[in-house]
């Protein structure tokens, strides 16, 4: 990775270099930059902070997996560090922009860091001696425990705030690396960019503006983010839950939702911030998880908006498994209980009762706000903003701003959570690359040092022990482990490296390998699943084969699970280190294989998502095979007539179909069913049967996008299908378009939400139904202003900017009445009329409406049959309710767990047309990153036959699950490394022990056992 703070090397030779500028280094910006870089295009990523990472790096854990964020984000960040096409410019902001799409000139200014980034070793002396001088922002107490924004910061270097520094000389002299530059100056650069992606994020709402919630003066009132910091292991309290006023552990905590969101009375933020319900639930669950019955957690909410994929399950877990209390009310004020630091919430229930309740601590779920500097940035860029200052986009081109060549993703587009940000980031990357030529790929191998041949050397093992902050260091005495390791045979050095995955540590390990001539490395740290590739790169950069490293999983499989038995953990850690050492001593260097990539793409599903992905790929010259099981393209969107924004969905779908059918790079195969599949990323082979005669065809392709969609739900409830006055929102859509006159004749319309969703059979929220209900309600009122429209709901989930439509509907007299799922509305046919009875929460009694039309919000269900079949054929996992399960629900929402497979649209989860378009572009973008390479590198960890001992018995030939081995002309078993999947079944079946699986050779496994058991036996 290169940082351009001092001398921007891009300057000077800018003429020929075409590149893309990404503004904002949060998660969205990082994902965008990575995707662009992976397609072989150059990208400059600027961020105003001193390290990239954005908001997510401050979180304690993320929902719904409750994983530690740092662990999941760190590999992404370091991946960006590894990418040669990315220039990261921290402390940098855009000054002005000239030119147009394809030829922008952006003037950027980098603020002084006052530290030479190349010299800083991040030793922390400056922060220790002159804490006030060191820049550090995140939550509550800016000084503790380290001034890094997070332990694996990229770049891993401090920054100085000279204004706050009184003893500059002292500071300069204190730095052992002599890295302080007291007269550092801002630098201005102009970079040429073909396109620009905006990923600047947003700010969290400043709750001190609210006098009813204590103006920020009440100590025990904190924001959600501050609460995250308190709970975070790397936060100011080292992860101890202490309330700010007295450091005591609270026993009763309340969360108040919609602080700075859905509010036009006190603050001008009418929109919903989309994520607060989930993060409040997460904080409550994590709190309950840690303290169980010692703490009480209550959430005060307006509507519980758990509309994302599987989020409803999370809500259920919070209530059922963790006993989190939910109260449907927005407290109007917080007061201090006299004589204490405790707090009193005052609120009104749905029934109209005034209540008060005391708490030790109150967490305000603050929403997002676009800060003034972003409004200014938009102005500089000439990008239009909406009334809430979010960047304006259109329904069917959701990541394009009003200005050609400038794209947007993440919070700046609208409030959204991490997976949606990632999705938009990939979509924006995809769009931004259009028309920007690829650069000839540099041969990275040339830049790496020659691999040292270590086969004949005696083992010189370097053992590096991570403390991973408290994660490992809190349980194990890492110094002692290192000392122990140092005494083991073959070990040349053993030392503690803090966060081993931080760039500082990686560089240290690299230099130790070179300086000490190490030939094997053991990392005592976290899981090889997530981090092995990183350390393998480090070895390779240090000039030794990447397979000569082994990781002892001291964290996930030791300290995290044996926290209560530190002694046993210590013994086990030593065993783990011994095992790793023995493994790596027996490891041998392996060469990787490269194979050409087939650049064709298979897209399964010809709805909006499938067509959008196909067109996006085809436009860039990839050949696309688009399979559709029906006899024509269109999918479920063909039934939607108009979006909530009023856009003509029918025309959009028709235009897509036309474009798809006419595209020279797209071959559409209708009535097509996938029947078999083999191969690997870059060289898949899928058999399909298609057409009226079910002819068979085998398609070779390098990547696969699944866009098989979902189905409209039609549960047999509320007289649906039995009475002609009862219809679904989807069908009613057509009535509004085709027979508007009929609406004028009718008086009462009743809509029931969550029909067939959020139930035992289909536990998830269908996401789209609240929007369709409000859309249709508004359309009814447009056609017949006299009509009375009732919407019976559980929670209205008009997330993000859709909240406007909800407000409008209320303003225009749509009657919203909440019902309890225990006592759902009842219906009774009475001639042409449906009598709808429901229990009104405000009046506290049952009301009857004589409905001329009963419109059910039935939402979507997974196309269980097709996803099940495809999941079997492609070996993909699914969620409990039948949607495809992505590789990582937060950080890899588009990639499926089988490499080379991507998901788009409602096959992933319910979503509206615009969201489908975004995801489809994103999936296309992800596919492009894979296909950008001309060859794929295959791991050397494959099975190898020893001819001398092979008895040609055929056992491997028969046992291989992939039919790879064969007896060659010489009479020995032969295994094509390009086809071998590396499972090792042949090796373990071979009766002559003639097959070894490289990287997992018998010697290595037996040596591990030896290491574990030698002391015991």
């Amino acid at each position: 990775m290169r940082y351009y703070e001092k001398n921007n090397s891009i300057k000077g030779d800018t003429e020929d270099i075409r590149q893309i500028l990404v503004i904002g280094g949060g998660l969205g910006g990082i994902r965008t930059a990575l995707d662009i870089a992976e397609t072989g295009r150059n990208v400059t990523l600027i961020d105003k902070a001193q390290a990239i990472g954005g908001l997510m790096t401050q979180l304690d854990r993320t929902f719904p997996t409750n994983n530690c964020d740092l662990c999941t984000v760190a590999p992404t960040l370091s991946a960006s560090g590894r990418e040669l096409h990315i220039d990261i410019m921290p402390l940098t902001q855009l000054q002005s922009l000239e030119g147009e799409a394809g030829n922008f000139a952006a003037e950027i200014e980098t603020a002084p860091r006052y530290i030479d980034i190349d010299r800083c070793t991040s030793c922390g002396v400056c922060a220790e001696k002159y804490p006030e001088c060191v820049v550090f922002k995140p939550g509550l107490d800016p000084r503790a425990p380290t001034c890094m924004r997070y332990p694996q910061a990229t770049p891993f270097a401090f920054a100085i705030d000279m204004d706050k520094c009184t003893d500059v000389d002292g500071l300069v002299n204190a730095c052992p690396a002599m890295a302080i530059i007291p007269d550092d100056k801002p630098k201005t650069t102009t970079i040429q960019a073909d396109s620009i992606v905006l990923a600047p994020g947003a700010e969290l709402f400043d709750y001190s503006l609210l006098d009813n919630y204590g103006n920020g003066i009440l100590k025990n009132v904190v924001s959600g983010m501050e609460y995250e910091r308190i709970m975070s292991a790397s936060g100011p309290t080292n992860g101890l839950l202490q309330r700010p006023s007295d450091g005591s552990q609270p026993k009763k905590v309340a969360w108040i939702q919609c602080v700075g969101s859905r509010d036009i009375n006190r603050v001008d933020s009418p929109y919903c911030s989309s994520v607060c319900c989930m993060y409040a639930l997460k904080e409550a669950i994590v709190t309950k998880e840690r303290f169980q019955d010692d703490i009480e957690a209550t959430i005060y909410y307006m509507d519980m908006r758990t509309f994302g994929k599987d989020y409803e399950l999370y809500l259920n877990r919070a209530q059922n498994d963790y006993n989190v209390k939910l109260v449907a009310s927005r407290p109007h004020s917080i007061e201090v209980a006299p004589g204490t630091d405790d707090l009193v919430l005052l609120y009104t229930t749905d029934e109209g009762n005034m209540e008060r309740e005391e708490f030790d601590m109150v967490v305000l779920s603050t929403g997002f706000k676009i800060p003034a500097d972003l409004i200014a940035l938009a102005e500089k860029l000439g990008v239009e903003l909406d009334q809430n200052n979010f960047a304006k986009t259109s329904t069917f081109d959701p990541v394009a701003t009003s200005k050609n060549g400038i794209y947007v993703c993440g919070l700046f587009e609208s409030p959204k959570d991490i997976p949606e940000t990632i999705t938009q980031a990939s979509a924006a990357a995809c769009r931004a690359c259009e028309g920007v030529g690829r650069f000839v790929q540099q041969n990275t191998a040339d830049e790496l040092p020659m691999e040292r041949d270590v086969r004949n050397e005696d083992a010189k093992i370097g053992v590096f022990i991570c403390d991973c902050g408290e994660n490992i260091g809190g349980v194990l005495d890492v110094e002692e482990i290192a000392k122990y390791a140092a005494g083991l045979p073959g070990v040349a050095l053993a030392e503690v490296v803090g966060h081993g995955c931080s760039s500082e540590s990686m560089e240290r390990i690299e230099s130790r390998i070179t300086s000490e001539k190490l030939n094997r490395v053991v990392i005592g740290g976290c899981s090889p699943r997530t981090h092995e590739a990183k350390f393998q790169d480090t070895l390779r950069k240090a000039g030794i084969n990447k397979h000569l490293v082994d990781m002892a999983n001291l964290r996930d499989q030791n300290t995290w699970v044996h926290v209560n038995q530190p002694e046993a953990a210590a013994v086990k850690a030593k065993e783990q280190i011994r095992m790793s050492i023995n493994n790596v001593v027996n490891a041998r260097p392996l060469a990787d294989f490269t194979l050409p990539v087939n650049k064709d793409v298979l897209v399964v599903g010809g709805g909006v998502s499938g067509m959008t992905s196909a067109i996006s790929l085809a436009d860039q010259g990839f050949k696309v095979f688009l399979l559709e099981i029906a006899d024509k393209l269109g999918g479920i969107a063909a039934q939607v007539r108009r979006t909530i924004e009023g856009d003509d969905a029918t025309a959009f779908v028709e235009s897509l179909v036309k474009k798809t059918m006419g595209h020279e790079n797209i071959q559409v195969l209708t009535r097509a069913v996938v029947v078999d599949h083999a191969g690997m990323p870059g060289m898949f082979n899928t058999g399909i049967q298609f057409g009226p005669r079910m002819q068979y065809r085998s398609i070779k392709h390098g990547a696969t996008i699944l866009a098989t969609g979902a189905l409209p739900n039609k549960p047999a409830e509320y007289l649906l299908g039995e009475h002609k006055a009862v219809t679904t929102q989807l069908d009613f859509d057509s009535v509004l378009e085709d027979a508007p006159e009929s609406i004028k004749e009718l008086d009462n319309f009743v809509m029931v939400q969550c029909v067939g969703s959020r139930t035992a059979e289909n536990p998830n929220c269908s996401r789209v139904c609240c929007l369709s209900a409000i859309k249709n309600a508004l359309n009814i009122l447009d056609l017949n202003p006299e009509a009375r429209v009732f919407i019976l709901y559980r929670d209205i989930r008009t997330y993000g900017l859709y909240e406007d439509y909800y407000s409008e509907a209320r303003k225009r007299g749509v009657i919203f009445a909440r019902y309890n799922p225990e006592t759902p509305p009842r219906v009774n046919a009475s001639g042409d009329i449906i009598e709808v009875t429901y229990k009104d929460q405000i009046f506290g009694r049952e009301l009857v409406i004589e409905a001329d039309r009963l419109i059910l919000s039935t939402g979507l269900i997974a196309d269980d049959e097709s996803t099940e079949d495809l999941a079997r054929i492609f070996h993909l996992p699914r969620t409990g309710d039948g949607y495809f399960l992505e590789d990582h629900i937060k950080l890899r929402p588009l990639d499926l767990p089988v490499k080379g497979f991507f998901v788009a649209g409602t096959a992933h989860a319910p979503k509206n047309i615009g969201e489908c378009v975004t995801q489809a572009q994103a999936a296309a973008g992800r596919a492009k990153t894979l296909l950008a390479k001309d060859s794929i590198s295959l791991d050397g960890a494959v099975a190898k036959v020893n001819n001398n001992t092979c008895a040609a018995c055929l056992i491997c030939v028969r046992a291989c699950p992939f039919n790879v081995p064969f007896i060659n002309a010489d009479g020995y078993s032969e295994i094509d490394p390009a086809k071998c999947h590396g499972c090792g079944t042949c090796a373990s079946e071979c009766p002559a022990k003639a097959i070894q699986l490289m990287r997992f050779e018998d010697d290595q496994i037996l040596a591990e056992l030896e290491a574990l058991l030698e002391v015991i036996a």
Partner: protein, 147 residues
């Protein structure tokens, strides 16, 4: 492991496939679900890679219990490796009975990547089972000979 005279701490070796069981073990970690430190994990790409000889060697070297943990049936990342592993475990069980070590010291378990809790449960239950069985007779005899 240090042995005190009155408490027996079994040594359990768990061969875990990378894609499911090893991931489940990591999952148990990130969910902080405790299980006995007696369980030592050896990572293999697929449970099908586990050779009968690995299982035998572990016991010969003194492990008190050994298990192989692979993916759920039908879920194997490599199609059928877990089934192959089950067959091998059965074979070794028979051999162990033949030489009087006892087939119950070795077992096959199936779990998916997401089953952190199941990983911990299996680890705990198997460790308890081995604890009740007492030390591996091979090791016990060797100890006696030395002591």
């Amino acid at each position: 492991m240090e042995k005190s005279n009155n408490t027996f701490e079994p040594v359990v070796v768990a061969f875990c496939c990378h894609y499911c069981a090893y991931t489940a073990a990591d999952m148990a970690g990130s969910q902080r679900i405790a299980y006995p430190a007696n369980v030592k994990i050896v990572r293999v790409p697929c449970s099908g890679k586990v050779d009968a000889i690995h299982l035998m060697k572990a016991l010969e070297k003194g492990a008190d219990g050994v298990y192989v943990a692979g993916c759920l049936e039908g879920d194997c990342h490599f199609n059928t490796g877990n089934i192959a592993a089950s067959r091998k475990v059965t074979k070794v069980k028979i051999l162990l009975d033949e030489i009087g070590i006892g087939s119950e010291r070795i077992e096959m378990f199936l779990m998916s990547a997401g089953m952190g809790r199941r990983f911990a449960e299996v680890a705990t239950e198997f460790t308890e089972k081995i604890r009740n069985l007492g030390p591996n007779p091979v090791k016990a005899a060797a100890d006696k000979a030395v002591g």
